[in-house]
Each structure stands twice: as structure tokens, then as C-alpha cells.
Symmetry: D2
Subunit: 264 residues, 4 copies
């Protein structure tokens, strides 16, 4: 098995400079530990808790920024789409198209994404059992595109709370597709702050470590130089300056885990 | 408070004749007990568990059938949309536009629906706390359209299961918008049959009774003359021939409940 | 089916006078609406959230008070036991022995209770599925005592929260034993106040109404003249002065429900 | 931090020979990897799903077997008690007294256990939030006995299912007491086989690895040479012959984890 892949970036793209700064720091941190790096950034937050939440820069501006990141650092880039219409436009720029968790059962979106031929990262819905992701992946695979990633990001656990079930990682791995752990969204507290979503960023490293110890393909971690002022998901993002140390321990666990992988 | 409203119909529209048959039976059953009747039918099931599930007749054909039902029985008609683009087309025909539960946080869809001026029935997401529906309703209301209904249809409870929390009804009622109980989707077992969603139709009447006893505005009940052969949601639909008796007891409970409503 | 039985009283017995005052008010309120009344009071709270929570008067004093209530009002009395050793002592005084929810799988306690020949009210554990109560009841029935009541009091739903699943009532009724809805404990928020358990007493009437609409045998409602100063479970008890109005609407719903019971 | 402690043994004690066989194999496996070993065995299963489940050998016979194991292998031994009366008798033999999860709020049991001066391992109830274990530990600590272990064993997640929340480990560690992961009970499916409890033993290694990656004090793993024929908890026990390999990977992860512990 290959060393851990790290999908990282801010929740939403803020500006070209900001994206370059984070991408640069992460590319360096990943290179230092031998992890493959994929830059992540969203151009639109289409499902904010409330109308007053910032939506983002829009698809045209966002894709330009992602293109710039790839040109500057040579890393693959990932963004999420919210409508079948956006698939082709995004695919012209990005390497990985991501399907948001709430939308993971929307057939037309999955088909449109699959048809682009990009790698498709599907977030497991907060309302979905891990074994049900086989049906979801099948929708994408029906387009002839088998470049699929499946991501755990927590499951509903009472109100305004998620829990990350570590069993879901080996269960989703039974599909044969690489499995990713989203360490930051799985510590969200959806709607937990009334008009916005709370989070427990202090537990994101624990989520990443636990998942990596099972021998997964990659981790997804949103990061920001100042999470408390980020326009979205600040409460659950990992501060950028903590990423190098976190990656070091994750790579050490990854080496042990992949020498003796969990078999289920 | 006005007597109970009953939103009923098949899960998906199958043909003009089938819709007329069900609408006719339901209109008669509702008239017999003094309930207001709204006919419900879907032209597209955009998020089936698996790709092999039947999608439906499509928007053009579906809206024609709904128009026919309204013409024949003089009842309001409701359908659900899955994309902002469909809002205007649907609004030309239907009285009530419904927002599916998985999509209840998609801002553009909510805004497009609101802008039509139709009544908007928003299903509460399986991943959402009832108090978070205030933010959702606010997205629609921001368009100037306050004709909003909020529907409980169960919340995630472990894997492949939902639970209907009766507290959610008075909690959502605090918004001031009428609250509906979806008695059939709240007994779904999502993904519970592997490639399709299971259900416990035997509990749908219990869900409806419990909710009506709190003095809610309406119930949503999918029905079919032969649920076991229905193209979708058969396991949780109420057989059409059981509806008259169910409506009789619901109206009796409704009368008692509205004489002395729950206050929270 | 017989009219609704009402099991009511304070969470813990405070004094003979206090018990008589509550029992008197409840006996009168039940008589006024034609409900059968069972007085409930605990002599020991053996599983408080924290050590600083008040335990109660003890078994000797508590049983004396219960005896006094029965003598004064002629109503059956109920208390809960926490240890097999207490069964016989309690049985000398009370009509109904209650098994606490946390202890509902403790075989020796169930057998000892059953052997007394008293009516045994078993609270369903917060960790238990309703169909699993058949095994629990069977432990009591193995003693030859079939006078069993099964009580729903909410099931774990994330942390510090419960949800009352109305399906559990008809599911438990399949055993053939009468089913009771505990309307006040099902709105507890276990541990929700740090050192003590919180509650949402405002929803207790809704829980009772919903359950009664299904045609159950009885409701369990803790009540107090000043819940905010009660030594335990204050946050979820119904104020005593609200009980007469609540009973009126419950009896009205009960009449409708039992004329046309839910069949599952 | 010290290397991982391994609490292991069969679910219930079957005979002196059987206990010696398992203890011998585990002592050897633990010595081979440098883990501290504590032998675990129950003399009574006081809360079986149904009455027909085997109870065990009883306290006298069970304690004699545990004494024999300690004499033969020089390892500490652990057993669980179910009643305050048993504390003193068990304490005469065992090093660690365990409080079962269902009983973790029973004040008298906690006090009696604490008063023995033994190490007390408290299993977190399936109905309890991890932060609520501080109140539970405090009950034991009030006796002057601070030798407390806190064990995660899964939390209720819908019906007949548990989920292991990895956040609970660092949360419970905030108390200052060592934290243990019960890798086998956390994959139980309570009541999941009708008259008995099911399990997913294939996930127990994943639970252990994930937990150890956070730098916990120990793991609890029930094991049996032939789990499918074990008198209880067979579905979730790890086969004895798989333990050496599992311990090797756990110790490798433990070394990495403790070099760089999670801080919350």
C-alpha cells in the first residue's frame, strides 16, 4: 500500500493569495514527511446553516484560484460541486471532483461527475450506513469511471452532533475503492451554534490518528492559519501551524498500519 | 385552528389513470370526514438508493398528470423538485412545491422555490434538529414568501433506521409556520433492503395518530392500492383501502387535540 | 379496553404530609375524569448522576409513607427497588414493584420481584430495543407471575438525550402485557446539567398525548407542586396544578383511541 | 507513559483448566511484546439477554479459579461484581474489581467497590456521555480510593447496536484516571440475535488499533480458543490464536502514539 494521501486546504477559497499561502505550507509539510498532497478548496458553500453564512467566490473565480495553485505547486486540486451543471466546468480545471455528503444520493449529480472522467470523491451522507455507499459508488461507476474515493465524515448521533464510526472505514474498503477519513467534518456540531455550525477542532487529530491506524488511503483535513476568523467551518479546522506535527505522527502510524493492515 | 389537512397520494406518479384513481378515492375519503385534501405525486425520484430504482415519468408528463388531477377534483396538488431550475416550471402547475429532506439545506433550491410564490413544504432533513428548521424556513422567507409548511419525516437513529421525535412538532411550530407529520417516510428503513429502502408500514397509522394528538396542521401519507408492487416506497405506504378508516380516527383525535392544543 | 390508568406521584418521597398532599390531589383529579390512579413514590434514588444528589428517606420510612397513602386514599401504591434483597420487604406494603430502567436486565432482581406475586412494572432500559423487552418480561414470568407492566421511558439518542419512539408501545404490546408511557422520564436530559440530570418538562404533556392516542394501558407522570425545588427530576416533572387539565385531555384522547385501537 | 496494559481473558470462567490455558497463552503473548497482562474472567453473568443464557460458575468457584491463575502466572486478575455484597469477597482474591456498564451509576455498588481498596475498573454505561464519567469516578474516589480505571465499551446507536466514539477516550482521560478501550464489547450487537447478543468480532482489532493510536493506558479484549462455542459473548470475542499478531501491531502503534500523545 502506498503512503498516506493528504487532502487539505481551507473550507472555502478566500483569495488567490490565501490559497497559495495555505497550499505552499501544506505542500512543504507533506513533502517533508513523504505524503502525497491534494489541495482542497470550495468556491461555493451551497448549504450553509443560515442564509447569512458566506457563500464563497463563485465557480469562475474559484476555479481560477485552483488552477493557480496547481500551476504553482504541481499538486492535484479538488473542489466540490452542487449541481450536475457544474461538473463539466469544474472538470476542466480540477483533478478531483467532490460530492458533498448531503448530496451523495442525488443520482444526476453523481452521473454528471462520473462522466467527466475526473477522480470522484464521494462524502458519505450523515444519514447513511457505510455499506450503503456501495450503491452510491455504483452510480458513478455506471458511467465507466471507476476512479472513486469514499470518504467518512461522521454520521448523525442525536441532534447537532455526529460520531465517527471507525468500522465504516474497513466496511467501505470492501468496495475496493480507496477510503479517506475526513477528520475535520467528523467533529462538526451541525447547527450547534444556532445560526452556524459548531465544531470540536481539538478532536480532529484524534479522528485522523484513529483512522490512519487502520491503514486507510488518505485523510481529509481542513486547515486555516486563523480558524476563528475563517468564513466557514472555523470551529472544526486544524490551525495551519499544527499541521506539520500532526502529519509527522500520522505518517508514523501509517507506516505501522500499512505493514500490518486491518482485514475485515 | 382549522381541521386537519391531508396530503396524500402515491410516492411516484405512474400514469394519469392511476393518479386519478387515487386522487378520487382520497378526495372522497377526505370529504367524508371533513378534511382538506392536497394530492401529492412525484415526477422524478432523484435520489433512489440504487441506480436500478425507477426514476419516474419526468417533469413534463408528471405536471400534466397533476394538472389533470386538479381539474378533475378541484384539489390543490403538490410535487417535489430537486433542482432550482425546476421551480418555475413546477410552479406553473402545482399549488405546493415540496423540498426533499436531503436537499433542505440547499440554499439555491430554497430561494428558487420561494420566488415562485407557491406554498413551500420543506421536509426536515434526517440529519437536522427541529430547531434548525427555523434557519431553513428563513431562507425561503427571505424571498418574501411566507407560505411555508414544515414537515417532520424522521431523524437518523443508528444505521438504516429513523425515529420520529414527537417533540419536533411543537418545536417547529414555534416558527409560526404550519407543521405537517409525514407518517409514511418516518417509518422508512433507509437502505434497509440492500439495493432499496425498507419500511414498516404497519406503524404509519401510529405515527399519524400520535402527531395529530398534539394538534398539528396536517398529515402527509403516501398511499397505493397495492403497495407491494409500487415502484418506490412500497414498504412504507398505507394501503389505499385502509385510508378511510384511518382518516376517521385521525379526525376524531384532531377534534379533541385542537380543542385543547399542546402549548410549548 | 379499560380507561387509562394513571401512575403518578413525586420522584422521591419527601415526607408523609407531602405524599398525602400529592396523592390527595391526584386521586381527586383522577376520580374527576374516571381514570384509575396508582400512587408512585421512591424511597431511594440509587443511581443519582452524582454523589451529592439526595438519596431519599430509606426503605423503612418510605414504605410507611406509602402504606399511609394507601390507607388514606384506597389507591394502589408503587415503588421501585434496586436490589433483590428489597423485594420481599417492599412487597409487604406495595401493590406494584417497579424495576428501574438501568436494572431491567439484572436477572436476580427480576426473579426476586416476580416471586413476590406483586404486579411488576419494568421500565425499558435506555439502551434496549422494544422487542428485547419480551426476553426481560420472560424472566419475571418464569416465576409464575404474569402480572407484568412494560413501560417506555425513552431510548438513548446521542449524548445527554433521549427520544421516545412511539413504535415501541405497540411493539411491546405484542407481548400481551399492558404498556405504560412514562411521559416525564422520556423527556429527561440525562446528565445534561453537569452534576445532575436536566429535563424538558414542557414536552411531557405531548409525550403523554401521543402515547395515549395509540390506545395504551396507562401513563406514568411524575408531578410536584413546585418542581424547581424538588430533590430530584424537577426539570422533567409536571407541576401538580397542571395535572387536572392534562388528565382531561388525555381521557378524551383515550376514549377516541380505545374505540379504534392501533393494531400492529 | 508506560507501555500498553492488556486486560484479556474469556467472557465467563468455564473451568480451572480453561482459565489456565487462556491465561498461559495470553501471558506468553504479552511477555513477548512487552505488554503488562491482567487476566479477566467473570464468575456470573448477571444480566444475560434472556433467562436461558448461561449464568456462570458462581462466586466461590470463580474466585478459586482466579486465585489459581494468579498463583500460576503471577499476573493481576480482574473480575466484575454485580452487587455491593460481593465486593469484599471478590477483593480478597482479585486485584481489579470491575463495575459492569449497566451498573455504572449504582451508587452503593461503586462505594462498596471503592472501599475495598482494590483497583476499580468502571465500564462506561451504553447510555452515558463520556464527560459524565467524572461524576461516576467521583463516587468511587469519595471512599478515598483513587485507583480507578475508566473503560469505553461503546454507546447506544439506534436499536441493537453500539458505536465506539473515539473522542470518549481523551474526554475521559481529562479526569486524570487511566483510560481503557474495551475492543470486544464495543462491537457487540446487544440483543441482536433475538434471545442473545450478537457481535462483529471482525471489527474488534480495528477498535483496538484506533484507540491505541491515541495513546491510551490499556485495551480490554475478550478472547477464546473457539469463540463460536463460548457460553457468552462468542460473537464478539477475538480468537485466541489471533491475539499474538494483534498484540504486535498494537504495541507498535502504542510506541508511536505514546511518543507523541493526543492532547485535548
Amino acid at each position: 500500500d502506498r503512503p498516506l494521501t493528504v487532502i487539505a486546504g481551507p473550507c472555502q477559497l478566500e483569495s488567490a493569495d490565501h490559497a497559495q499561502m495555505i497550499a505552499g505550507a501544506m505542500a512543504e509539510a507533506c513533502a517533508a514527511v513523504g505524503a502525497q498532497f491534494i489541495f482542497k478548496g470550495s468556491y461555493d458553500k451551497a448549504n450553509r446553516t443560515s442564509l447569512s453564512g458566506k457563500r464563497g467566490l463563485g465557480i469562475a473565480e474559484g476555479l481560477k484560484i485552483l488552477q493557480g495553485v496547481r500551476a504553482a505547486f504541481g499538486c492535484p486540486v479538488l473542489t466540490d460541486i452542487h449541481d450536475a451543471d457544474q461538473a463539466r466546468e469544474a472538470a476542466a480545471v480540477v483533478d478531483v471532483i467532490q460530492i458533498p455528503a448531503f448530496l451523495c444520493r442525488q443520482t444526476d449529480l453523481l452521473l454528471a461527475a462520473g462522466q467527466t472522467g475526473c477522480v470522484i470523491n464521494i462524502k458519505k451522507g450523515q444519514f447513511l450506513a457505510p455499506w450503503d455507499m456501495a450503491n452510491v459508488a455504483e452510480k458513478v461507476a455506471s458511467t465507466g469511471n471507476q476512479k472513486i474515493l469514499l470518504t467518512e465524515r461522521g454520521v448523525s448521533f442525536g441532534y447537532n452532533a455526529l460520531v465517527a464510526d471507525m468500522r465504516s472505514l474497513p466496511i467501505m474498503a470492501r468496495t475496493g475503492y480507496p477510503v479517506i477519513m475526513d477528520a475535520t467534518h467528523s467533529v462538526q456540531q451541525p447547527g450547534g451554534q444556532g445560526g452556524s455550525t459548531g465544531g470540536q477542532r481539538e478532536f480532529a487529530p484524534a479522528m485522523a490518528r484513529a483512522a490512519v491506524s487502520l491503514g486507510i488511503a488518505g485523510v481529509f483535513i481542513e486547515t486555516h492559519e486563523a480558524p476563528d476568523t475563517a468564513p466557514s467551518d472555523g470551529p472544526n479546522m486544524v490551525p495551519l501551524d499544527q499541521m506539520p506535527a500532526l502529519l509527522r505522527v500520522l505518517m508514523a502510524i501509517d507506516a505501522v498500519a500499512k505493514a500490518d493492515p486491518v482485514r475485515v
